[in-house]
C-alpha cells in the first residue's frame, strides 16, 4: 500500500492510527450480537445494542445453495471476520453435512426462485460498474477496478486479462484461501467483514434477481442499516447486481455461438456524436437475425446496438456502407470503420479496412432523435459490388446470467427436519424467516433481551448471562479452541478475544450513561458514517479510496466538490428539521433539487429511521444547538433585504460567482444553492461561516470577505455584521428572492430590477386584465394598475417582475407578480356617487386617461368618470404604499364616495380600531392584517366602516373650490397602507 502521498486528512488521530471512538470489546459485543444468547443487564443493553442479522424471509430466492452449503459449514473460513457463529463445532463431519443439507432444504423454501436466466448486457454491466465506483459503494467496499482501469471498458479489460486465471486465490471448493487482511480491508476503515466483495465469492453467493432486489431495498434484508439504501432505481439495482455478479456470465470464449446478432435497445435521447452512451442502460436486449431496427418499441429517441461476430471469407480490403436516419457507426474489432454519426435524414457513408479471413467482432450502433428512422448495412468484398451482408456471416454468443438453481426437490420430511434444526441450533435467535410458529419467533428464543420476565428462560445451550461469564476463566466462544457448545462465535483474531474479555471484566462500566458526543460517535461508527464524513477529526474518505469520490468536473470545487461534507458541529449548523430530512428522507429521488450538493456523485444513503433513532437530538445536544447566546437573525425589513440583494450580486460580494440561484447556474464554479439555504442552516452558523470560514471546520473554499473588519462593498456602512444580517434577510425571501445582478441565463435576462428610478412595463396580467401597467420601485414596493378598468389592482413587495413571458418569442403569456407578499386593492370603480353611503357599490365605467411622469419617474395615473377627473399616485411609503388621490370636477358632484379598502371577512361585532402611537389604525384581526391611515386637507380622517358581508372602509368626498379653470372643484386624499 503506497501511503506516501496521502493528504493530511489521512492522519486520523494523533497517534497516526485509526481512532476507534468505540472501545473494541464493547463494539464486538454489539456486532456479534452476544445478547442473542446471553442475557444482558438492562443498564448495559444500550451499549451493546445488537446489529441485527439478515432477514431470511426471501433467502432461498436470493442466495445460491452451494454458497449456503459452504457458508454454513465454514462461516469463519468463507468470510473472514464473519459474525455468523459456527453451528457445528461439536458435530462430526457427517453429522454436519446432514444438518447443513436439511437446513438448506428448509431455507430453499423461503422466497421464490426465478428459474429463467437474465440476459447479460455489456452496456448494463458497464453502467453497474460506474454506479459501484460512483454512488458511494466504494466508501465501504473495496473498489473492484483501480482508477486506471475505470478508463477502459470491461470488454477492453477482458481482452487484456485473457491470460490470467480468474480462479486465482480460490481453492477447489471455492473457499477463499488465507488472504492478507491488508489486501481485503482498506486500512483505516472499520474492520467490517462485509466490506470485502470479491467478485468470485459474490458470484457464488447470489443470483442476479436476488441481489438486485437486495440492492434496491437493502433495509428489507438487513434491517440494521449496516447496508444502507442508496436510492437505486430498479434499473440501477439490476445493473449493479449484474456487474457485481459478472463472473456468473458464461465466459465469452466458452459460449455457444448463435446465428444473427445480439442487440441492445435504448430509450433515451442519445449522444449523436459517438456510439458510446455512458450511463445509459439498455431497456431491452435479445437476438436479431440481422441489423433489424423493427425490434424498437418506439420511433423517436431510441437507439440500437448490434454486436456479434462477422465471418470474413477472404482476406483483402473490405468496404462497408451505413445508410441511416439519424446517425450510425460500424466498428470492427474495436476500430471505427464507418462513422455516420450526427443528427440527419437518410444519409449513406462508406468506409473501408484491410481484414484477414476469419471471425471479427462487429458492432453497429444507431440512434434516432425525431422524424424518420432507418438503418441499412452493406459490405463490399474486394473487387465486388456493395451488397447486403448474408445472414450466415453473422453470429453471436448468447450471454446470460443463470437463474436460481433451487435445491432440488427435498422431501417434506427433510424440509421439516431443516426447520427443526433452525430452531434447535438457535438460528431463530438472530434471523427472521417469515415462517409462522411460536418456536420460530425470535423473542421466544432470546435470553439476551433485558426483559426481567424472560430472564432464566434461555433455551439455547443454557448460555449463561453476560454477567456470569468469568473473564478469568474463559470458556466457549471466548476460547481459542473449538471447545464449548455446538454453536459458537469464532473470533479469528486473538486481539478481539482479549478485548472482549477486558470488557467483560469491567462490564459494570458499560452502565455509565454516555455523553451526547459519545453517543453520536457510536451511532456514526455503527452506521459507518465515518466512511464518508469527517467529524471532530475522525473519519472522512480514506486516502486510498478518496480518488473514487467524484463530482461534476465542471464544479471545479476541488475536494469540496467530491467529498461528502464534514459533520463537525453539524448539529449547530443545520436546522433540526432539515437534518431530520437528510437522515430520513430519500433525497436521491427524481428531483435532484432535493439534494443540496447535486454535483457530488456520491449519494447520501438512507439508513432507516430505527437505526438513525434520536441522532438529530443527540447531534443538536452534542454540538450546542440549544445553548444560550447563539446569534439570531434580525427581522427582515425591505431595506435589509435590498442590501442583501446588492451584496449577493456582481458589484456586491458576488455570491452568485459560486452559488447557483435556484435553476440558474452560478457564474463560475458551483456549490450549494442560494435557494433553501436559510431553511437548512442555523443563522449562528451562517454568520460564523461568512465572518470566518475556516472556523467552521468545513475545509471550505468559501472566501473570507471582510478583512480587518471592513467590507469591500459600500453597503450598510461596510459593517460585516450588518452585511451578514442583510444577506440572511435576502435569502429568507425564498422563492420571492430578486435575482441578484450579474446572473447570466435566459430566466434572469428578463428580470426587471428597479435600481435608481421606477420601472414601468405593460403586460397581460393573469386574473387582472390584458391591459395592465406594472410599476416597480427601487424601494421594492411595486404595484399593478389595470388600465382597462382604471383601477389600482394590487401592490407587492420583493421581486418586481420577470417579463420572459411578455418579451420572449411570440410571447403573450399571462404574467403574475413573482411575489406572494401582495395586497389586493378593492375591485371595481375607485369612486362612485351613492345616495346612501352604504349602498351597494355600482359598476361604473371609469375610463383610463393616461399617465403623467414626474421628474423622478413616478407615474400618476389619470382616469375619469362623468367629468370627474382622478389623479392617483401610488408610491412606496414606509415599506408599504401611499396613494395620493387628487379629484377635480366642473361642479361639486354630490354624494361622491371613495372606496378606501375592503376585506372579505369580518364579523358583525367588528369595530374600527383607533389610531395608535404611530398614527396608523392597526387592523390586526383582519385578513390581511394591515395598518392604515387616511388624510385629507384637514389632516387624519376616519373612514366609515361598513360591516356586513366583509368590512369595507368608505369616505365621502368633500369638494372645495380652488381657482377658476375648467374643473375648479377639487378634493384630495392620501391613503397610507402597510401590510
Amino acid at each position: 500500500m503506497a501511503l506516501a502521498s496521502e493528504p493530511a486528512r489521512a492522519l486520523q488521530s494523533d497517534s497516526g492510527d485509526f481512532h476507534e471512538p468505540l472501545p473494541r470489546g464493547e463494539r464486538l459485543l454489539s456486532e456479534f450480537h452476544c445478547s442473542a444468547c446471553h442475557t444482558v443487564p438492562a443498564a448495559v443493553f444500550p451499549r451493546v445494542l445488537p446489529i441485527e442479522a439478515p432477514d431470511l424471509i426471501a433467502v432461498g430466492g436470493r442466495l445460491r445453495p452451494d454458497h449456503l452449503r459452504k457458508f454454513l459449514a465454514h462461516p469463519d473460513k468463507l468470510h473472514p471476520r464473519n459474525r455468523m457463529p459456527n453451528l457445528f463445532t461439536a458435530f462430526s463431519e457427517e453429522e454436519r453435512d446432514l444438518a447443513v443439507g436439511e437446513l438448506i432444504a428448509f431455507l430453499g423454501t423461503l422466497g421464490e426462485h426465478p428459474s429463467e436466466g437474465t440476459p447479460a448486457l455489456v452496456g448494463e454491466l458497464e453502467r453497474g460498474r460506474q454506479l459501484f465506483h460512483g454512488v458511494g459503494c466504494v466508501a465501504c467496499h473495496r473498489p473492484q477496478d483501480d482508477l486506471y482501469d475505470l478508463d477502459w471498458t470491461l470488454l477492453e479489460l477482458l481482452a487484456e486479462d485473457a491470460g490470467e486465471d480468474p480462479e486465482a486465490g480460490v481453492d477447489e471448493s471455492g473457499v477463499l484461501q488465507a488472504v492478507d487482511d491488508e489486501i481485503l480491508l482498506r486500512p483505516g476503515t472499520l474492520p467490517h467483514p462485509d466490506l470485502v466483495i470479491d467478485p468470485t465469492w459474490l458470484a457464488g453467493k447470489y443470483n442476479v434477481a436476488g441481489l438486485a432486489a437486495f440492492l434496491e431495498d437493502p433495509l428489507a434484508v438487513r434491517p440494521a442499516g449496516n447496508m444502507p439504501d442508496l436510492g437505486l432505481s430498479g434499473e440501477e439495482a439490476m445493473a449493479l447486481a449484474k456487474y457485481l455478479l459478472r463472473e456468473q456470465v458464461m465466459p465469452l470464449d466458452e459460449g455457444e455461438s448463435s446465428p444473427g446478432l445480439r442487440y441492445e435497445y435504448f430509450e433515451a435521447r442519445l449522444d449523436a456524436g459517438n456510439p458510446d452512451w455512458p450511463g445509459v442502460g439498455p431497456v431491452a436486449a435479445g437476438s436479431a437475425p440481422d441489423f433489424d431496427i423493427s425490434v424498437r418499441k418506439r420511433n423517436d429517441d431510441f437507439g440500437l446496438r448490434f454486436s456479434g461476430t462477422l465471418e470474413i471469407p477472404e482476406a483483402g480490403h473490405w468496404s462497408f456502407a451505413l445508410t441511416s436516419d439519424d446517425g450510425s457507426w460500424l466498428e470492427l474489432d474495436g476500430q471505427m470503420v464507418v462513422d455516420n454519426g450526427g443528427v440527419h435524414g437518410s444519409r449513406r457513408v462508406t468506409g473501408g479496412v484491410d481484414l484477414k479471413a476469419g471471425a471479427h467482432s462487429i458492432r453497429v450502433s444507431m440512434f434516432e432523435h425525431g422524424g424518420g428512422e432507418e438503418l441499412k448495412v452493406q459490405w463490399q468484398a474486394p473487387g465486388a459490388e456493395f451488397g447486403p451482408i448474408p445472414a450466415e456471416a453473422l453470429s453471436h454468443i448468447a450471454l446470460r446470467f443463470p437463474g436460481s438453481e433451487g435445491t432440488g426437490d427435498p422431501t417434506p420430511e427433510v424440509i421439516a427436519a431443516g426447520r427443526a434444526r433452525f430452531v434447535d441450533l438457535g438460528c431463530v435467535a438472530c434471523h427472521d424467516t417469515g415462517v409462522t410458529g411460536v418456536d420460530m419467533s425470535r423473542d421466544s428464543f432470546r435470553s439476551g433481551l433485558p426483559d426481567p420476565s424472560l430472564e432464566g428462560q434461555a433455551r439455547h445451550g443454557d448460555a449463561p448471562a453476560l454477567v456470569d461469564l468469568d473473564p478469568g476463566q474463559p470458556s466457549g466462544c471466548l476460547t481459542a479452541t473449538t471447545d464449548g457448545g455446538p454453536t459458537r462465535i469464532v473470533f479469528d483474531e486473538p486481539a478481539d478475544r482479549t478485548a472482549v474479555l477486558e470488557t467483560l471484566a469491567s462490564l459494570a462500566d458499560l452502565a455509565t450513561p454516555l455523553s451526547s458526543s459519545d453517543q453520536v460517535a457510536r451511532r456514526m461508527q455503527r452506521l459507518n458514517c465515518y466512511a464518508c464524513h469527517r467529524r471532530s477529526e475522525i473519519g472522512g474518505p480514506h486516502p486510498d479510496g478518496a480518488d473514487y469520490f467524484a463530482g461534476d468536473e465542471n464544479a471545479e470545487l476541488g475536494d469540496e466538490g467530491r467529498f461528502p461534507p464534514p459533520l463537525t458541529g453539524v448539529g449547530s449548523k443545520l436546522n433540526g428539521s432539515w437534518l431530520q430530512s437528510v437522515l430520513l428522507e430519500d433525497l436521491n429521488g427524481p428531483s435532484p433539487g432535493a439534494r443540496v450538493r447535486p454535483y457530488l456523485e456520491t449519494r447520501m444513503p438512507y439508513f432507516g429511521s430505527g437505526n438513525v433513532g434520536d441522532l438529530v437530538d443527540l447531534l443538536r445536544d452534542a454540538d450546542g444547538a440549544e445553548v444560550a447566546g447563539r446569534a439570531q437573525p434580525l427581522a427582515a425589513s425591505p431595506s435589509l433585504i435590498q442590501a442583501g440583494h446588492k451584496l449577493a450580486g456582481i458589484g456586491g460580494l458576488g455570491c452568485i460567482q459560486c452559488h447557483p440561484f435556484g435553476g440558474v447556474p452560478s457564474l463560475g464554479v458551483t456549490s450549494v444553492n442560494l435557494f433553501g439555504m436559510t431553511e437548512h442552516l442555523q443563522y449562528d452558523w451562517f454568520r460564523q461561516l461568512l465572518l470566518d470560514p475556516t472556523s467552521t471546520g468545513m475545509d471550505t473554499r468559501m472566501p473570507a470577505f471582510w478583512l480587518d473588519g471592513e467590507s469591500p462593498v459600500d453597503v450598510l456602512d461596510k459593517d460585516p455584521e450588518r452585511q451578514v444580517e442583510a444577506l440572511w434577510a435576502f435569502l429568507t425571501e425564498g422563492d420571492n428572492m430578486m435575482p441578484p445582478r450579474g446572473l447570466n441565463s435566459p430566466e434572469v435576462a428578463y428580470e426587471l430590477i428597479p435600481d435608481d428610478r421606477p420601472l414601468c412595463v405593460g403586460v397581460f396580467m393573469k386574473d387582472v386584465s390584458p391591459r395592465t401597467l406594472a410599476v416597480g420601485f427601487p424601494e421594492w414596493v411595486h404595484y399593478a394598475y389595470d388600465m382597462q378598468a382604471a383601477r389600482l389592482d394590487s401592490s407587492w413587495r420583493g421581486r418586481f417582475f420577470n417579463t420572459r413571458g411578455t418579451w420572449q418569442g411570440r410571447a403573450g403569456a399571462l404574467e403574475s407578480p413573482p411575489s406572494a407578499d401582495t395586497l389586493d386593492w378593492p375591485e371595481g370603480a375607485p369612486l362612485a356617487a351613492l345616495e346612501g353611503l352604504g349602498d351597494p357599490w355600482p359598476d361604473l365605467a371609469w375610463a383610463f386617461g393616461g399617465r403623467r411622469m414626474d421628474s423622478q419617474g413616478q407615474p400618476t395615473l389619470l382616469s375619469s368618470w362623468k367629468g370627474i377627473r382622478l389623479e392617483d399616485q401610488p408610491m412606496p411609503w414606509e415599506g408599504g404604499l401611499a396613494r395620493e388621490l387628487q379629484l377635480s370636477a366642473a361642479y361639486p358632484v354630490p354624494d361622491l364616495v371613495l372606496r378606501v379598502f375592503h376585506w372579505d371577512e369580518g364579523g358583525e361585532d367588528w369595530t374600527m380600531p383607533a389610531p395608535e402611537e404611530d398614527g396608523l389604525r392597526h387592523f390586526k384581526t383582519m385578513d390581511p392584517p394591515l395598518q392604515l391611515r387616511v388624510q385629507d386637507a384637514t389632516g387624519d380622517v376616519t373612514p366609515t366602516a361598513l360591516v356586513g358581508r366583509g368590512v369595507e372602509l368608505r369616505l365621502p368626498v368633500h369638494w372645495e373650490r380652488e381657482g377658476r379653470g375648467a374643473r375648479p372643484w377639487k378634493s384630495h386624499f392620501r391613503v397610507e397602507v402597510i401590510w
Binding site: 420601472l759 414601468c760 412595463v761 405593460g762 403586460v763 397581460f764 386584465s769 390584458p770 391591459r771 401597467l773 410599476v775 388600465m787 382597462q788 417579463t803 411578455t806 418579451w807 420572449q808 418569442g809 411570440r810 410571447a811 403573450g812 399571462l814 375610463a847 383610463f848 386617461g849 393616461g850 399617465r851 403623467r852 411622469m853 414626474d854 421628474s855 419617474g857 407615474p859
Partner: protein, 488 residues
C-alpha cells in the same frame, strides 16, 4: 469580355472584372446597439430636430443620438419612455408622438425638454383586448382628413380574456378619440401608411384567406379577403355595407363578382420570389437624394431581411402596379423604415418570434441604407398598357438587346382565395411578346403582348436587356399585378 469591361469602366475603377452588386449602389450602415440593449425596433419617427425616435416591442422608446454618423461610431440611445404595450409604430405631430398600443391609441410628449416623455394621453380605447398574443395593432398613419389610421391583427389561438370585435380592421380614429372602423378583412396588416396624395395603403402577410402577401389600398368600406372579423360589421359602429358571405376556393379575379366590396390588391409579392412578410413602407419623397426612384414605394420584408420597390399607377380608378427587388442582406428582419433628413433610409426591425434571413446575428437591428451616388441600371417602372407594358429604365438601353423579344420572358398566374394557408400560383401561362418599340428618350421600351389577363400577376424577366453601356439590369425581374387592364 468587351461588354464586361465597358460596363465596369462606367462604374468606377474598383469594380473592374466583377458584376455590379447592390452594395455598389446602396450601402448599409449599421448603427451599433449596446450589448445590454434589446432594441427590437417596431417603430421609427423623427423628432423635430431630426434625431430618430425608435420604439421596440418591449414597450420602450429611445432617442438615437449621432445616428447619421458614417461610419456610425458614436451612436447613443437615450430612453424616452417605457411601459407601453407592444407599440408597433410611431408618428410625430408637432410636440406629440402618436402610437398604437395593444389597448389604445396613445400620444405622449416631453414637456420639460429632458428627452423623457412626461405625459401620456389615452386618445381612444374603444376596442378591447382578448389577451391573445397575435392581436397586434399597427400604425398610426395620418390620413388626409386628419384622422389617425391603425390596422388590427387577427388573433391566433387562446383568447384568455374572451373574444373581442374589430380584429382584422383598418380604423380611423379622430383627434377627439372617436373610432371609425373603415376597412375589414385584414389578416396580418403589419404596415399602414398614407400616400402623398392621401389614399391609405397597407401590407398584409400571406396565410389563410390571403393567397399571397400584398400591398393594398385601404379604400373605405372595402373588404380585403379575410372573413375572421367581419362579424363586427353587424355592429352599428361599422358605417358601411356588410361584405356578405365570403366564398371559399375562388380565383382572385372572380371574388369581386360574389363580394362586391372585395378589394383587389395593388401589388402581390410572390412568395420567395419577392419575400414572405411585407411590413413597413414609405414613398420616396427625397426628390432624388436617394437615387432615381422618387415617387415610388419602398417596402420592407421581415423574413427576407430585404427592401422591395413598388411603382403604382391608377388604372380604372384602382391603384395597381409592380414590385421589384431592391436591397437584400439587411442586418435583421426589417419592420419599419423612415427617411432620414439627408435622404438616406433608416431601417429597423426584429425577427423575434418569426424567422428572418437577417445577417447581424442579434435578432434585431437598426441601420441606414445610403445611396452611393452611382446610378444602377434598373427597370425603373413597368406600367400597364391596353395591349402590353411600358418599360422605363434608369439609363439608356442598348437598342439591339432591348428590342429583341428574346431578351424578355413574360408569364402570368393568379391566386386562389381560400381558407388554407397561402395559395399556389395557378392558371400559369407564358405570354408572347409580339413587338418591342424604343421610346424617343432612348430608355423606354413598349412591349406589345398577346394574352394579357386582368386579375393576373404578370411576371417579367429581362435577362437579355443591356444598358447602352452594356450593363445587365441589376435586378432583371418585375411582377406586375394587373388587377385591371387599361382601356384603349
Amino acid at each position: 469580355m468587351n461588354v464586361i469591361l465597358l460596363s465596369a469602366l462606367t462604374l468606377g475603377s474598383g469594380l473592374i472584372g466583377q458584376d455590379p452588386t447592390e452594395d455598389d449602389y446602396y450601402r448599409i450602415v449599421p448603427l451599433p446597439i449596446p450589448e445590454a440593449l434589446v432594441l427590437e425596433v417596431s417603430g421609427i419617427t423623427l423628432l423635430e430636430d431630426g434625431r430618430p425616435l425608435v420604439c421596440n416591442r418591449r414597450g420602450e422608446v429611445f432617442v438615437v443620438e449621432n445616428a447619421y454618423d458614417d461610419p456610425a461610431e458614436h451612436v447613443l440611445f437615450h430612453k424616452f419612455a417605457e411601459g407601453l404595450q407592444e407599440p408597433l409604430g410611431l408618428l410625430r405631430q408637432g410636440d406629440w408622438i402618436y402610437l398604437a398600443q395593444r389597448g389604445e391609441l396613445t400620444r405622449m410628449r416631453d414637456v420639460d425638454g429632458d428627452d423623457r416623455a412626461d405625459e401620456f394621453e389615452t386618445i381612444c380605447d374603444t376596442w378591447r383586448v382578448s389577451g391573445n398574443y397575435h392581436e397586434y395593432n399597427f400604425g398610426p398613419t395620418l390620413g388626409p382628413e386628419g384622422n389617425f389610421w391603425i390596422t388590427t391583427n387577427k388573433p391566433f389561438g387562446d383568447q384568455p380574456f374572451g373574444a373581442v370585435p374589430w380584429r382584422g380592421f383598418a380604423m380611423r380614429i379622430t383627434p377627439e378619440g372617436e373610432m371609425i372602423p373603415t376597412v375589414c378583412g385584414l389578416r396580418s396588416p403589419s404596415g399602414v401608411q398614407a400616400s402623398p396624395w392621401g389614399d391609405v395603403f397597407y401590407t398584409d402577410n400571406q396565410g389563410e384567406w390571403c393567397g399571397a402577401s400584398k400591398l393594398s389600398w385601404l379604400k373605405p368600406g372595402s373588404f380585403q379577403g379575410h372573413p375572421h372579423g367581419i362579424g363586427s360589421c353587424e355592429q352599428d359602429l361599422w358605417p358601411y355595407e356588410h361584405p356578405g358571405e365570403i366564398p371559399n376556393r375562388v380565383l382572385m379575379p372572380e371574388v369581386s363578382k360574389q363580394v362586391p366590396s372585395f378589394q383587389m390588391p395593388s401589388v402581390w409579392f410572390p412568395r420567395d420570389k419577392m419575400g414572405r412578410a411585407p411590413a413597413g413602407f414609405v414613398w420616396d419623397t427625397t426628390e432624388g437624394a436617394f437615387g432615381p426612384f422618387a415617387g415610388q414605394v419602398f417596402v420592407t420584408d421581415q423574413y427576407e431581411a430585404s427592401v422591395m420597390r413598388v411603382s403604382l399607377e391608377k388604372v380604372q380608378g384602382h391603384w395597381q402596379g409592380a414590385c421589384y427587388p431592391f436591397r437584400r442582406r439587411l442586418g435583421t428582419g426589417a419592420l419599419r423604415l423612415q427617411w432620414a433628413p439627408d435622404g438616406s433610409l433608416i431601417m429597423g426591425g426584429t425577427d423575434r418570434g418569426w424567422p428572418s434571413l437577417g445577417t447581424n446575428g442579434r435578432g434585431f437591428g437598426l441601420e441606414r441604407v445610403v445611396w452611393t451616388g452611382e446610378m444602377p441600371f434598373e427597370l425603373l417602372e413597368m406600367s400597364a398598357r391596353p395591349q402590353g407594358f411600358h418599360l422605363t429604365f434608369t439609363e439608356a438601353v442598348d437598342p439591339e438587346s432591348a428590342l429583341d423579344p428574346e431578351s424578355y420572358d413574360l408569364s402570368s398566374f393568379t391566386y386562389i382565395l381560400h381558407s388554407t394557408y397561402g395559395s399556389p400560383e395557378v392558371e400559369n401561362e407564358t405570354l408572347s411578346i409580339t413587338s418591342c418599340t424604343l421610346g424617343d428618350d432612348g430608355r423606354s421600351v413598349e412591349l406589345m403582348v398577346e394574352g394579357l389577363r386582368a386579375g393576373w400577376l404578370h411576371e417579367l424577366h429581362l435577362d437579355g436587356v443591356r444598358s447602352a453601356s452594356g450593363a445587365p439590369v441589376l435586378h432583371p425581374r418585375a411582377y406586375y399585378t394587373l388587377a385591371f387592364r387599361p382601356e384603349d
